[in-house]
Symmetry: C2
Subunit: 440 residues, 2 copies
């Protein structure tokens, strides 16, 4: 079952042909903007140079800083009259990043959202409660237009007020929800405080979760609490917002819509492509946006292509859940490592408590990754053999994940100092200055 079978199941060869056609159109369109016009003229770039998707590698990158430097209209290809909406980052000082959409862009986005929701098993018979801020944040209107395009009964609930959210769910028989994962734990607590069990007292069946990094374990916990299937949604405001990549019912990676986006996975250091299956930075080119196309936009999001074809029949590539930001990446023993990878391993080990810390330092002339791991309260009973066994398990699992062997040190609960706000996960003593990497 597909929303648009002809696009979603296109043979790779035909999909690439479509991408080449659209990329050429996009380059021509982009050259209507001051930024690309000047940049491409200076480098002698024209659409004629493209005859294969790989030819995109000859084009320069676009960065968030470019967007800021050419704020607000440097990337706009059309007169303001043609534009029907903007979404912009918040803040009251400095240049925000802004994306402009014409009528075609809004319709195309709504269609991609509808395709995404359909792909996760949502149908026009569903009652879809969008628990998400509206306004300039793209999650509100992005989902709203997609839900209506698909034909669900939409409940534009907005964010917050859990009691009211629960009342809406029960009043109108909500079956599907979009929310950020960290909210769902709180929502569940309110269900419990009200003496309600979402598994029995609601019709919920599908959650769409995104906009926040989360692990497979968090997903499974949400599924169990609410008795639903939870699907990953990926998007970023520069690429519209939600509707970029979405999990199908296989729950094995997110299909990224390759008729609308040309993707590359590059080594963030060398900016060369990594082989399929390896982690790198996602670089994206819009293929169906008119008002403000972006070419080779460096998302800074880290992911990998899942190489095998998906059982669902969709031919569009799958990406893995976002493993962090390329700015967070560190290199140890020649391996690119992202803190989220280490965190993912630790979360799967039941004996592990709530905190960990990675320290990178030179020991006896070699760079080492020291991973301090808090064990659960009362787990350590004085049995040294037990301690050593767990240390070995964690060491080997991290090595399997990141390919570099860590030095694992188990510590008592609370032994890792808590900072204010977000936890500092990585301390890099090799560079003499502490690189503070923050994860949620």
């Amino acid at each position: 079952m597909f929303w648009e079978k002809e696009f979603e199941t296109l043979r790779r060869k035909d999909l690439e042909k479509l991408q080449v056609d659209r990329l050429k159109k996009t380059i021509n369109q982009a050259m209507e903007s001051p930024f690309y016009k000047e940049l491409y003229a200076a480098k002698g770039i024209t659409a004629e140079r493209i005859s294969d998707v790989k030819d995109i590698r000859e084009l320069p990158f676009t960065t968030k800083q470019d967007l800021r430097n050419h704020f607000p209209y440097g990337f706009l290809t059309q007169p303001k009259k043609e534009i029907i909406r903007l979404h912009s980052s918040s803040g009251t000082t400095g240049n925000p990043t802004v994306i402009f959409h014409n009528r075609h862009d809004i319709a195309s986005w709504a269609n991609l959202m509808a395709r995404s929701l359909f792909c996760a098993g949502i149908r026009d018979t569903d009652v879809f409660q969008n628990i998400c801020g509206y306004g300039l944040f793209t999650g509100g209107l992005g989902f709203q237009y997609g839900i209506e395009r698909l034909g669900c009964l939409s409940i534009p609930a907005g964010a917050g007020n859990s009691l009211r959210q629960i009342k809406l769910m029960r009043d109108y028989g909500t079956t599907a929800i979009h929310a950020i994962p960290s909210y769902l734990g709180r929502l569940y607590e309110v269900f419990q405080a009200e003496g309600l069990d979402p598994r029995k007292d609601t019709d919920l069946r599908i959650f769409v979760i995104g906009a926040e990094p989360h692990t497979e374990e968090q997903r499974r916990r949400i599924e169990e609490m609410f008795g639903v299937k939870a699907y990953n949604s990926f998007g970023l405001s520069e690429m519209n917002g939600p509707g970029v990549a979405f999990e199908c019912t296989e729950q094995a990676g997110l299909h990224i819509w390759e008729d609308a986006y040309l993707i590359e996975i590059l080594d963030p250091e060398t900016l060369e492509p990594v082989p399929d299956g390896e982690f790198g930075e996602l670089v994206m080119t819009t293929l169906d946006r008119q008002a403000m196309p972006l070419i080779r936009y460096r998302t800074r999001d880290l992911t990998r292509i899942i190489p095998e074809p998906c059982a669902c029949g969709r031919t569009h590539a799958r990406i893995d859940r976002i493993a962090g930001r390329s700015d967070d990446m560190f290199i140890i023993k020649g391996c690119n490592v992202f803190p989220m990878q280490v965190e993912g391993v630790l979360l799967r080990i039941p004996e592990v408590g709530s905190d960990y810390r990675i320290t990178l330092e030179e020991i006896n002339g070699a760079d080492e990754m020291i991973v301090e791991v808090e064990v659960k309260k009362d787990w350590f009973n004085g049995d040294i053999a037990r301690l050593e066994k767990l240390t070995r398990v964690i060491t080997s699992q991290i090595r399997d994940e990141v390919l570099a062997k860590p030095i694992v040190r188990l510590v008592e609960p609370g032994a890792i100092p808590k900072g204010k706000g977000k936890a500092v996960r990585v301390i890099d003593k090799r560079k003499q200055i502490a690189t503070q990497i923050q994860t949620t």
Copy 2:
């Protein structure tokens, strides 16, 4: 200049013919809902009985209580599968009121909103900042869809954060704004605090204000502060939300879209029609809503038809700004009086201060309306003749407005006791129990 000339300038005769056709369709559609099916069957009502718009008077009224009693699906004419959005009143206890829309209804609403904005002089070249809560509140999505339908560049700013609102206006050259009138005073203060003058430091030219009762004087003040034209918007959630009636550039009453709504102005006591030009309760019937038509819905809003044809060429009736709620109305000396009428008179008199109070009581066997009016600080200088003159002016102006002669008593500033929260404007001693009427 019209958005849809063929509808907006329809000759009255043809407009009424269209209304009759649509009313019959609406009755048939309504009878697909449990509520109207039962009600009309019991009363033997069918669409065949309608051959003139006046025949609507044979149909029973629908009230908010009906909506609550048959919550949530009693008024729904179609399976949930056909519905793509609901808007519902907030609150976590009791039955809210909910309105369901199918795809046609959402498109029709967006079109009425676009027509409304166009009517107030807004064009696809405008940059429209919607300063208004999104989500279940109808102002957010209602305006959003209309702005995009018209083709403006929409900025879905949401409510609050004045500094950010101002930055958005200046970053993107906002020319038009939708906001509630009470917010605009605060917004102006923030402009001032930032050392900015909206007349010089922005491109603002048109404001759309609604959702809150306000006076002509408040409108003029807003226009002066910001150097804009401000237009009244009227809507209520049961009739979609915004887009029901809107001022044209004549600023002389709000065109109510009679191809989408059949309106009646009734005496709230007798429920008989009042003559054109006289105030009464607005009763509305949807003519272009499929999922949830409402027939003879008692809005409780008080207004009047402005009888003369409008200079703009639109043939759809104009209503006056809302003069209050029918629940607020009192009868004195045989006249229907609404506190907003008295307030409107007082606001036009420069010597009058910030507070007033109306007391209804029997004096020497006759019911009297006593209006206590605070004068401005330091206005009374001991000159009795000046006092008497102002009293006479206020008395005659109130009598001209409400047709009943009041007893006016001028008092010192602060003499009228302030309650917590909203001011108590009317005390009815005739009934022995104080009727507390709250106005903003």
